[in-house]
Each structure stands twice: as structure tokens, then as C-alpha cells.
Chain length 438, copies 2
């Protein structure tokens, strides 16, 4: 089974209180974004299921009425450094913003994680959508959607340049000659761009993977351009197979245009699997979860995803026409399309968003969940999935114990880790050093 | 032995290639600031010796001619998060700059480390001395020595305020009521000061220790004022017992003036112990280390510590009169005093600095090293020591295996960890929450 030409990739989108906004209220739910013991158990389960990635989202603001998973969460690189010690193979992906971080600090954090984990780090390079984040930082005004992407483009280039500060063989550590590092094998970046001036070199040696794997999660026009140029894993939120196929095809065209191999770019839509022993059981569980939603919290989540306040509108009427938001453009468009296509009322829409924040929800038996994943995968709508359990740990254990074996029997996923690093496991090339090629 | 009223505190100043600039060249030396396996072994040794702290310095620039320990080193919070997994009791102290970091990011990183380690985090709050660091960051011009301390004062207050964002009991996680966090137990800081505007709340719950332990390492006038107001461990570099006593007494007076208990402020001078089985062996080892020094590298280190280029002066003449530098004021003054007092030539001074960067070097048998530590401790010049082995791991193993048992027999150090958190172990109080007292 390890000879799969193109195995289905599986990420676990790890989130303290689960992905369903009311998931934590389920009797079986254990939770807490700061509950290290639980998180270690979940990571071990993911590794037992040969998942490719542990994926952590992040945010730079909080409030008492936020999604329970977002109120408090450990800093992702610190958490993944700890998880690197209790896992051996799984990739460790953290989200960090290009809008409110310094490229030097970020390059150093991910290079460190790559060293600590023996080459398993991945960086989800995001722009910060929420204007209120600016209140926590010195930079002043929140940049516009387009500027955020212009900043991200330059930021990522600086970070990749810093990762190439040292040749792979720079640290000769020659006791006899007294030469610790070869001066000629160190590069000073001296970057001066539109947004950043960064001298270098970075004070961490080149990461084991050359560069940590780059993940991109924005699907707007600028987001797709960025993904096509630098993304290796693309995390998306399509609701239908046709949308998924169209997105992946469009992205592949842009990837080729950028001179890259589409085989080195993997599209992973988020999926929230609600699993029951029978279809009726799964349906009942989904109903139970939906029943736990606080309507006031749900409407806040919907406002958040749309970038507009819709609480004044008739809840049993259609989604009103809204101008484009400067916030989450692509995610908002997918939701709007969904509401129009399915003729959803506002109330139906916000209940749906409360489930998995606009990501696809699949409820059913293990067979049915496996079918749903296989269909998208074989249909070219996805290279794999970022699994978003409604609550932890039992719903995720169910996925690993009951769904993964079905996928394995069908020859869709691997039954072992084949490489030493995340890049090896994903079949991604190790980037050459820009300054010390060959 | 656990009833010691005031045990001698021991920190291990962990540094990849050792503290002596040529230590890494010793045949027994293993090294690498990114060599996790070695670092884990050293941490285990420190814990076996019941050390209070693992201490990591840091810097935000590098160059090929830097001290080998500084050329490349992992980001300290990421490294300590990993070490938290392979240790159980020892405190985990990381240096992070108040000059080139955002208070929100820093507060979150250390709160996360405190959660991950079960209450063992400490923050060495430094200002960045080196103007060249500014080249790696957006903030533009490097602030002056006085401004750096004014920034640090405000920065630390913001960080402590952010740590108090949530009451200790804020996260009720009441499944029946559907209340994850009590809205009335969350505080929004809304800080607007001279240097920072930070909204809050922090998106991490209150650290187990309330606040991670605060370490302060500057000994200039502004540095001492800051230490007196907020420092709990003070890391210094005195060369003589009289200097140590005078510093500690002066600090205690300032601590009392600030309304704090001097018993809650521990002064730990750095000491580099060079240990041999006999006095002759220790002397030979020290000579061997000094013989490995590259004079060109040594003069760079001296320039660095003085904040002035002295390479044009006669190496066999005295230290020239130099104007006060804006860089490392207190460390430069200690060195200047030492050169004058001992009539050192420039060459002698730079050989001395190359040994332990201006920290005290003690060479001798285990008994002699223990004597030297005991004398300062009983003489009121220190509450303990930050141990700076010339190279790793054997010189540190020697300290733990041969010196620590002597200190224990003399009733100077503890033979066990008595508390659950670093504060407990150090006898430091848990700070009350500024916004939710009691």
C-alpha cells in the first residue's frame, strides 16, 4: 500500500474545543486549547492513523463571545515544539500572520521548529483578516485586503531568503583549524523592499527541509496568485464537488503559469465528519450538535464570516445583497453562493456556519464518510482533506478507527510513513538554496 | 536537607558551544545550539543536580565571526517548550527582547510556555544593546540606552497586564448552561502609553504561575531601577566578592524603596567553573582553553563588550580611556574597573573576556570551586549562581557529579524539588491578578 502513486492526504485541523461551535457541550467532549495532555493524546491518534499533518489555526484577538476554540489557545510554534517531542512522523503545521509579525522572528520560529522536529515543520502563511487585531500591535492602521496580500508576497520572499542564510554545509565545526562556520558559506540578505528592510543573516542554520513546507489558505484572487507562486498545501473551504474541481483546475493552470509542477501543490478542503454507527445515529448526533447552538453566538459567527452585520434582517428571509467586505473575501463569497444555490434563509445559513464555519459537513456512517471523501478525491476536487472533527477526542478517534481503515482497504491512503521529513512523506522536493546552489 | 532556610540557587546558563570562546575546540566538547539530543542530555543532567533553572540567552543578529555559541541558536521559547517535555521540575528561562518584540506576542509566548511546562517559565526581560539588530526589523532607528529602559518599563507593565486578562476561574466550561468563559471574568487592557497601544485581552488564559518569573540582567542605573521594581532573579557579572556584596546591598535598598521584599529578589552572578581532578589539572585545562583562543576573535569580543573598537591600541599597553558607550553600559564598566584594578594589558583583558565574556572564571578542584561559591554566598555577594561551563557536556557533568554533592554535604543546596512550579521551588509568591483580586 506504500506504493500509492498519489495517496489521499489527511490533515487533522486540531482545535481545542472542536470545530462545531457547540461540539464542546457534547457529553463525550473533552476540550481546551491549553489542555496539553489531551492534545498529546489527539496527536498520537493522528499519528496512529498515519495522518500527514497536524494543523493549527491561529488568531491575534479574542473576546468572551468568540468561538470556544478561539477564546484562548497556546502560541502555535511553542505548542508544536512540545508535540514534536511526543510524535515522530507527523507533519506539524502552524498558522502565523504576515500582517502582524516580523519576517525575522517568523523565519527563526519556523526554522527552529523544523530543527526541533527533525524536518516536520510547515507554515500556514496567512494575512490577518480582522481589523480589530491592529489594536494589539504597534503598526497602527490595519492594511486593506490588497495591501495585505502585497505585504504577504514580500514577507514570504524575505522569510525564504532568510532560511537560505547559511549553506547546508556552512557549519564545519573544525576543531583543529578553529573554524566553527565557514565565512564564505554565510549570506547576508540585505533586503530592501516596499514594505520591509531586513538585513540578515538569520541566526538559525538552514532548516532540515531547506524550507518548511508552505501552506496557503486564502482563495480570493490575490490569495490564489500567492498560492500558485509559493503554496505547497492549499487549505480551502469548498462546499460542492463542482466548486472543488473548478478551484483545483484553475489553481493548476496558475501553478503551471508560475512555472511550477501542479504535482507539488496539494489542495486540501476542510471537512467536518459527523460519524455515527448508523445513518440514523449520525443524523441524530448532527441534530444534537445543532440543537446546542446558541442563536446569538451563531449570528456573531455568521457576521464574522460575511464581514457584515446581518442581525437586523429577517431571520426567515433570504440572505440580503451585501457589498464586498474587505475581510474574508473568498470565504464570504463561498457562503453567499451556497445561500443562493440552496435558497437558504438567514437562520439556516447561520446554523450551517455554526457547524464548521462554512466548511463542508459530512454526516453518516464510516462507509458514507469514506464514500464522500473518495468521491471528491477521485473526481479531482481534492488531493486530500483537512479533517475538522466536530468535537474531540471521540469523534476524531472514530474517524481514525473506523473511516481510515476503509480508506486504506480501498487503496486511497498510506499505511505507513515512508520518509524522514514532511517533504519526503508528501513527495515534495527540497528547495535548493538561492545563494548556495548545488 | 529540604528545610534549608535559604538554599543557594543554581542556574545552568545553557549555551550551544560552551561559554569559553574556544571551549568547543576541546577534544571532549560536543556542541551545537541546534543539537537537540545533546541539549536534552544536558537538561537531564541539570535536573539530576536539582538545578533551579535552565537559562537561555538570546540575540537578534549574527555573523560568521560571532562567538560560536551565538552564530546560530534555536528560538528560546520553542526550544524550552520542547525541553519542557523531557524535564519535570527545572525552571525554564528564556531571554526575549523588549526592544524588538511586540508585548502581545511576548506575553502570549511566555504564557504558552508556562502552560506547556506546568508553571516553570521565566522571562529574562532584556533590552537589545546592539544597534545592528535594528537592521533586521521594521522599527527603524535603534533607541538610546535610556529610551531602551523606558520602553522596557512600559513593555513589562503591558505584558503583566495581558497575563491578567482572565481571572483564574474565568473558564467555567459549563456544558449545561452553554457558557465556556464567564464574560465578566475577562479584562480588556486598553493600554495607551508613551510607546505602546495594546488593546487586549490576551488570547491565552492566565499562566499557572500567575506570571512567569521575571529575570533582569542589566546592572546600569536604569537596569537596577527596573530590577528593583519588577525583577525576581537578577543575573549579574561581578568579578569580586566586594563588588557582589555592594551590588546586592544597593539593590536590596532599592527593592525596599520600591515596596518589595528583598527575600523575593535573588542575585545570581554568572560563574565559569573550570574543573580538574587536581589544581594542576584545572590550571592546565584553563591554559589549554586559553591557548585555543584566536586573538582576532578575542579582540572582536572585547570590542563588543566595551562598545568601542580598541584594536588600534598597543595590545601590551593599558586599556585606553574610553567614553561611555550607549551599548552595554554596566558590563563595560565592570570590565574597565577590572582592567584598572588588576593593571591588565589589553591583551590580558581580551584573553579574560574570551573566557566567559567578562563573567567570573573559577578554576580548581571540585572542593576549590565549591569553596569559591560558598564564600560569595555566605558573604552576601550572591543568592546563588548562574553556572557557565566552558564547554559541554563533560565540564558540566563534572560540576553536577563532583561539585554539587560537596555543596549538598555542606547544607548549601537542596537535594530535591519541593514545589510544583518554579515559583514554589524558589519560594516566590504567586502574583495576584491586578483586575480580579482575590
Amino acid at each position: 500500500m506504500n506504493a500509492l502513486a498519489r495517496p489521499m492526504r489527511l490533515g487533522l485541523f486540531l482545535q481545542g474545543a472542536g470545530h462545531h461551535v457547540a461540539g464542546w457541550r457534547h457529553p463525550e467532549a473533552e476540550f481546551g486549547g491549553e489542555n496539553l495532555g489531551l492534545i498529546q493524546r489527539i496527536a498520537a491518534t493522528a499519528e496512529a492513523g498515519h495522518f500527514d499533518l497536524l494543523f493549527l489555526a491561529d488568531g491575534l484577538t479574542t473576546s468572551a463571545d468568540a468561538h470556544p476554540s478561539f477564546v484562548a489557545r497556546l502560541e502555535p510554534v511553542a505548542l508544536l515544539s512540545a508535540l514534536a517531542m511526543s510524535t515522530r512522523h507527523i507533519g506539524l503545521a502552524a498558522t502565523m500572520s504576515t500582517t502582524y509579525t516580523e519576517p525575522f522572528h517568523l523565519a527563526r520560529a519556523f526554522a527552529s521548529l523544523d530543527h526541533i522536529s527533525g524536518g516536520r515543520a510547515a507554515w500556514n502563511a496567512v494575512t490577518t483578516s480582522y481589523a480589530r487585531s491592529s489594536a494589539n500591535f504597534m503598526r497602527g492602521q490595519h492594511p486593506s485586503h490588497d495591501d495585505r496580500y502585497a505585504i504577504a508576497e514580500e514577507f514570504i520572499d524575505v522569510v525564504r531568503g532568510l532560511w537560505d542564510s547559511f549553506a547546508d554545509d556552512a557549519f564545519v565545526k573544525d576543531k583543529a583549524r578553529g573554524v566553527y562556520v565557514e565565512p564564505g558559506r554565510v549570506h547576508t540578505l540585505s533586503h530592501q523592499g516596499r514594505f520591509f528592510t531586513v538585513g540578515g543573516p538569520l541566526n538559525v542554520s538552514r532548516p532540515p527541509q531547506g524550507h518548511p513546507v508552505i501552506i496557503q489558505s486564502g482563495s480570493s484572487g490575490p490569495g490564489q496568485r500567492l498560492a500558485a507562486r509559493v503554496g505547497e498545501i492549499i487549505f480551502t473551504a469548498q462546499q460542492t464537488q463542482a466548486e472543488g474541481q473548478a478551484f483545483r483546475e484553475g489553481l493548476h493552470a496558475q501553478v503551471r503559469e508560475a512555472g511550477r509542477d501542479p504535482g507539488h501543490v496539494m489542495v486540501l478542503p476542510g471537512v467536518c465528519p459527523v460519524i455515527g454507527g448508523t445513518e440514523a445515529e449520525a443524523k441524530a448526533l448532527y441534530a444534537q450538535l445543532q440543537g446546542g447552538i446558541d442563536p446569538a453566538a451563531a449570528i456573531l459567527l455568521l457576521n464574522d464570516r460575511l464581514g457584515h452585520d446581518v442581525s437586523g434582517y429577517d431571520l426567515d428571509g433570504p440572505l440580503p445583497d451585501l457589498p464586498q467586505s474587505d475581510q474574508l473575501q473568498s470565504r464570504a463569497r463561498l457562503l453567499t453562493d451556497l445561500a443562493r444555490r440552496e435558497n437558504l434563509t438567514l437562520r439556516e445559513l447561520y446554523y450551517l456556519v455554526a457547524g464548521a464555519r462554512g466548511h463542508r459537513i459530512v454526516w453518516g456512517t464510516p462507509e458514507q464518510v469514506a464514500d464522500a471523501l473518495e468521491e471528491w478525491f477521485r473526481g479531482g476536487a481534492a488531493d486530500g482533506f483537512n479533517i475538522m472533527p466536530p468535537f474531540f477526542p471521540t469523534q476524531f478517534e472514530r474517524f481514525v478507527e473506523d473511516v481510515v481503515p476503509i480508506l486504506r482497504r480501498r487503496g486511497l491512503v498510506r499505511g505507513e510513513y515512508t520518509g524522514a521529513t514532511l517533504r519526503d512523506n508528501l513527495g515534495l522536493p527540497r528547495p535548493p538554496n538561492r545563494f548556495f546552489p548545488g
